[in-house]
């Protein structure tokens, strides 16, 4: 097992078809970092670049200060000499080898010989609870079992870095929850650099200490899961978290958003800001509401979706916004698709932070 104090610094520019990836990744000692982004953001390519499987346009990758790759000096440590464990999205277990030989593959490649190979591979299978499947072929395993074999195979040669590409995406929903807990415990048992790629915010939040959000090859936001969810910095993150996000210019108590509309916000002072409003804070009315709310908008309901005990209503007015009400309230409003509706929210329910 790698000693404590392994860190990764990478500054990577890669071309992947039309996509240009330009990312800086720092993983400090003891951290689990999740790279979160939509499909096609370049996450997998970035991970492959860190492993040396993709040619860098320019950049530098260093592990514990030891340079693995630097396009300026021309240094390139080939993949097979990097101390990296890689769990691929669909696991890529060698179909012609038994489970045990899959786990032993990295040990043999790294020069371990004799009965030691079997012993260590078997010990890893024991750890992931698959000792009884040692002689099965991967095709005979369930999705969850394959995931555990892939993890054992990647960890068996004691790498300093563990890269996981969508480790749970290939699993069905019921297995995924169990495997998430399982994976979390294995990740905490590993003391090297842990970097995982996912498009699932829940997975990212459960497994990682810190999130790096990337979109279209570029860095969007970094922070703990709590920071990222409370202060989203892109429509993608806002969507994932399920909040309304506006970007505009603050001016004495209000934020001027696109199309000239303004959102009254208690904390707004000046400069480019994000304004975030939770859908629960948005109230719907059949007629223009009276009273204190500073923000009163009028629009047309364009989408109504029920989520258990809540209903989400998308309202298209000057600025589109989503409101969340109870199904009972929705029934009382007699609101159907395309129906006209008023909405209101308090200025104090608008979170404002610099863009």
């Amino acid at each position: 097992m790698a000693g404590i104090g392994v860190s990764l610094q990478a500054d990577v520019r890669v071309k992947a078809g039309a996509l240009e990836i330009d990312m800086r990744i720092d993983v400090a000692e003891g951290e689990v970092v999740a790279l979160l982004g939509p499909n096609g953001a370049g996450k997998t390519t970035l991970l492959r670049a860190l492993a040396g499987l993709v040619q860098l346009e320019s950049g530098r990758v260093a592990l514990d200060g030891v340079v693995l790759e630097d396009t300026r000096s021309g240094r390139y440590v080939p993949t097979e000499e990097r101390s990296i464990g890689f769990v691929f999205q669909d696991y890529l277990l060698f179909p012609h080898l038994s489970v045990l030989d899959n786990v032993a593959f990295g040990l043999r490649s790294r020069g371990v010989r004799g009965p030691e190979v079997q012993r260590r591979a078997a010990a890893w299978l024991e750890r992931v609870g698959l000792a009884d499947r040692a002689h099965s072929k991967p095709s005979a395993l369930s999705g969850g079992e394959r995931q555990r074999v892939a993890l054992a195979r990647a960890l068996a040669p004691d790498p300093h870095v563990l890269l996981l590409d969508e480790p749970l995406a290939a699993l069905d929903a019921t297995t995924r929850a169990a495997m998430r807990r399982d994976l979390k415990s294995h990740l905490s048992g590993f003391r090297g650099v842990r970097l995982l790629v996912t498009h699932d915010p829940l997975e990212a939040a459960v497994l990682a200490d810190r999130l790096i959000v990337m979109e279209r090859g570029k860095h969007v936001q970094t922070g703990t899961p709590a920071e990222v969810t409370s202060r989203p910095r892109s429509p993608y993150v806002a969507d994932l978290v399920g909040v309304n996000l506006f970007r505009g210019v603050a001016q004495r108590g209000s934020v001027r958003v696109a199309a000239g509309a303004a959102v009254a916000a208690a904390g707004a002072e000046s400069g480019e800001v994000f304004a975030v409003i939770h859908p629960r804070a948005v109230a719907l009315h059949r007629s223009r509401p009276e009273g204190s709310p500073r923000n009163v908008w009028h629009g047309r309901a364009t989408g109504i979706e029920l989520y258990g005990d809540r209903a989400r209503v998308r309202v298209e007015g000057e600025v589109p916004i989503v409101a969340e009400v109870t199904p009972a309230a929705l029934a009382e409003l007699k609101l159907g698709e395309g129906g006209e509706v008023w909405l209101s929210f308090k200025a104090t329910d608008v979170g404002v932070y610099p863009a």
């Binding site: 990097r82 990296i84 179909p95 012609h96 490649s109 790294r110 195979r153 040669p157």
Partner: protein, 261 residues
């Protein structure tokens, strides 16, 4: 699952296509004088030709595997100028009349050939009229089938398995032998069988380059051809023997390797 039924037109054309192959075989079976067949099967000449055919075609397949798999790998993986031209040149024997192939082999490896004259003067090695010459001719004609099949297999395999092996510390040779080759085993097998079948039936290049002498260079197809003139019934019997041997091998191997009929 419901059984799929063929549209009438496709069924008729498929039946005609199958009949096109089956009828000549029936003709061979019907016209074979079975009374003489037993004697012909066990005659020393027949056994000698059959033995030579099997030895030469299997050796040619072995040579084709040793040289052809690396060639296919280079074609599939390495980009270099002139690759498509080189590929076309090395697959030319598939369309070249085999006799022309035999002459080309003579011009290269014959006693006065480009390389052959050097082989003869330096090592006293002369390929024409030898069993090695038969293997040369068969390899020349049959190897392209293996190369093309294996190249297709290499191109269609999921290369990320090789990436996975690299992240596990495997060097290129280890990846090739322990990951790539096992993954393309079906293509490798199909290519080898095609190559072997082509080598077994080889006639034109063999008789041109290696000549024809019983026990040395006379393979079954040569024996069949030469017998056709004087003893057609004898040649039918030899053809049937060749056919049965090929059929047994092809059906047997397919069953064993692909697990289906």
């Amino acid at each position: 699952m419901r059984r799929e039924r063929a549209p009438l037109a496709i069924g008729i054309l498929a039946a005609a296509g199958a009949a096109f192959f089956i009828l000549p075989l029936i003709g061979l079976v019907v016209r074979t004088p079975w009374a003489d067949a037993a004697r012909a099967v066990t005659s020393a000449d027949t056994l000698e030709a059959l033995r030579l055919s099997l030895v030469a075609s299997l050796t040619a397949t072995g040579v084709a595997l040793v040289l052809g798999v690396p060639l296919a790998w280079v074609y599939a993986r390495i980009e270099f100028p002139g690759r498509s031209v080189l590929r076309a040149l090395t697959t030319l024997p598939m369309v070249l009349p085999p006799v022309v192939g035999g002459i080309a082999l003579l011009l290269a490896f014959g006693r006065r050939g480009l390389l052959g004259s050097w082989l003869e003067s330096s090592f006293g090695i002369s390929l024409p009229f030898t069993t090695a010459g038969v293997v040369f001719a068969e390899t020349f004609v049959a190897m392209p089938f293996l190369v093309l099949t294996v190249e297709a297999g290499l191109r269609s395999m999921d290369r990320r398995y090789e990436d996975a092996a690299r992240t596990l510390g495997a060097k290129r040779w280890t990846i090739f032998t322990r990951v790539t080759l096992p993954l393309i085993a079906p293509s490798l097998f199909a290519g080898a069988v095609l190559c072997w079948a082509r080598a077994l039936g080889e006639f034109g290049a063999t008789i041109t380059f290696a000549g024809n002498f019983p026990g040395v260079t006379q393979t079954m197809p040569l024996a069949v051809y030469l017998l056709l003139g004087t003893n057609p019934e004898g040649s039918y019997i030899l053809s049937l023997i060749l056919l049965v041997v090929s059929l047994v091998v092809l059906v047997g191997l397919r069953h064993r390797w692909l697990g289906s009929a």
